[in-house]
Symmetry: C2
């Protein structure tokens, strides 16, 4: 052998049990974690395809849709964004992207690579858009597609969507919504609201591990995909064939790729737990926890980054870093002494905010109180430049 077995692989695997209260991943419930150790199944075994069918039903439930083309992409939430864009965009298409944080920026990059002419609709980080802003931009630019992020995890902003579908329909524009960080934390109704494509993260409110991404397309979006003039660039995300592997179109299943049965187990169990609790209860639990967190933060004397109350995302709370405080001292303190994750900013909020996530299994009063206590401790120590940090 030219290359010898690496020494690092002789050491044992070390995985501490942390409390993940950043913007995700969140902790998986024990039921989900246990399912991950079940034996691997073949990608076309009936027990595996049964689980895929269960998952489709679960995804339809959490998205509140009857969409035929509903499945989970075998990749991270990021890939959900790319899968939607590469299926719906053809070269030279004009697309409108709402940018108020990192996810709009990412969608802009991806859409451009697939040949789209991107028009950006922008608002300052920490704020959301008014419906009329969307209508003005759509009527002016007449894009084939509008991309909106329901929960901007980089800024902690919630984007209301009611009424947007009607505007899009009026101008024959597809409505694409990123719900990675919002789904299960705020209401979402794909069908009622006229959403044409949506994806979410498995590792946030749903409580499954990352690596598998729920996605759904309306009949209108599906038709557009099947009527493309050019093939979808990415074979791995080509819904015309991936949809057949997931038995979305009533045809016999066709091998497309080797799905990770391990991740299917986790996603299936996560969705089953959401269904068991009832998504309206899940949403309400997140709302209550967020209010408790916001009240607690006010009591501590820190300021939320999102000033408009209705624009605050329950799942990810952004807190302004107080003046003359080194934010890294607090996040490091929480991790070092409590294995608790509190995050810093991302993209436009780097060095400006803390981010506290309340998602899924972690959305409990106990966890909110825990994170508040540790945050306050850390903040006090940082103010005093304490040696206990």
């Amino acid at each position: 052998m030219d290359i010898q077995p690496p020494e690092v692989l002789k050491s044992p695997l070390v995985v501490p049990a942390k409390t993940l209260m950043g913007p995700g991943p969140s902790n998986c419930p024990p039921r989900v974690l246990q399912s991950l150790s079940l034996p691997v199944l073949g990608h076309l075994h009936p027990e595996c395809t049964k689980i895929m069918d269960d998952i489709k039903e679960g995804i339809r439930y959490v998205f509140q849709t009857k969409n035929e083309l509903t499945l989970a992409v075998s990749a991270s939430g990021h890939a959900g964004m790319e899968a939607v864009l590469c299926n719906l965009i053809e070269p030279e298409d004009k697309v409108l992207i709402a940018v108020n944080g990192i996810w709009g920026e990412r969608a802009n990059i991806m859409a451009s690579r697939y040949g789209a002419k991107v028009v950006r609709l922008e608002t300052a980080p920490g704020t959301n858009f008014e419906l009329c802003q969307f209508e003005d931009a759509i009527s002016k630019h007449r894009p084939v597609l509008l991309f909106v992020t329901q929960g901007e995890s980089s800024t902690g902003v919630y984007q209301p969507l009611e009424g947007l579908g009607l505007i899009c329909e009026k101008y024959d524009c597809l409505l694409v919504v990123d719900t990675v960080a919002s789904l299960g934390g705020v209401p979402f109704y794909a069908d009622r609201w006229g959403v044409d494509a949506v994806y979410t993260g498995s590792q946030k409110v749903i409580g499954a591990p990352p690596g598998i991404t729920p996605i759904s397309f309306s009949a209108k979006a599906q038709k557009r995909i099947f009527n493309r003039k050019t093939p979808v660039k990415v074979y791995y995300w080509d819904m015309t064939i991936l949809g057949d592997y997931w038995a979305c179109f009533g045809n016999p299943r066709v091998y497309h790729h080797t799905v990770s049965s391990t991740l299917l187990y986790g996603l299936r169990e996560g969705l089953a737990m959401v269904a068991q609790e009832g998504i309206e209860n899940v949403i309400n639990r997140h709302k209550q926890c967020a209010l408790r967190l916001h009240d607690g933060l006010k009591a501590i004397g820190v300021e939320l980054f999102v000033s408009k109350e209705s624009a605050r995302l329950p799942t990810v709370t952004t807190i302004k870093v107080p003046e003359n405080i080194d934010w890294t001292l607090i996040t490091a303190y929480a991790m070092k002494h409590y294995f608790l994750e509190i995050s810093g900013g991302l993209g436009p909020t780097v060095n400006k905010v803390f981010r506290i996530g309340i998602m899924g299994y972690n959305a409990t009063n106990d966890n909110v109180d825990f994170v508040l206590r540790v945050f306050e401790e850390g903040l006090d120590l940082a103010k005093n430049k304490s040696s206990k940090l």
Copy 2:
């Protein structure tokens, strides 16, 4: 709620423990399965990036390379193929694809979608290529890239690679090798053999679950990626940024996507087990098992699909379906009575062959004897159209 919680999610998850002796996935060893239930880690936590570093070393070991740009893609083996092709191909590039089964066909489709002018080098399913065929085609067409499958799992064919790197170098052609079904079952030396890009499956000999895919690029391939005239179409697989997330270029890590720590654990443990045994011993174990299987099959009186002995892939054995036998009776018998997977053909071998996989944890004499016994039983019953099927 418009859509009610689905009934199917009220039933428990059912995952039987099978013996997977088709062309993959294979069974994961207990050490790997146990690791999958460990708590999820954040994608930039030091414990997580430590595991990523361990994995890079493990991948370098199994590929026998010192390549800087070595990492695991967060998607199935299929995506490994696409990630390599979309990074190395620019529109109008001429590429040569060796086709002797389904994987060459897939590479052809993918390369075409990325705008390549594809030249096909073909040989009949069940046969492999001679070095001179490659050289003739390369010198004639002068492609920028040659795609070869080391182990064609659809036909059970092994493609020797020694000497091919020198030919490619002579004509300034990148050598891309698919080792999804072969790595760990036959020797592979990326550096010694002059391979420019290679990927493999996690769920075969390595014994991890599917969904994460080892990949590596030579310095020459890396340079080509950084000197592209057009950006890589797929952001998710863009090695210029994904390589930074995996800390391949000596820069600070940059967030790219949320890696599945669950799959990292499994891959890390699978690689650690290969390193512990020593890859040369792993290869030898597969060779011995394959010979035992082939001898047993001869004793049963069936014929191997690959007539040339040196062209037989140890990891996937293809067996001609005897005349007047319904092959599905035998595979169904094995599954129904023993939860044992034996597969039928794929692509060019559909209805023509059985496929028996010997991979990783399942590459033992006991398993070979088990599959031989069940196969013979099933065949006898099928011949007699027995009611015991």
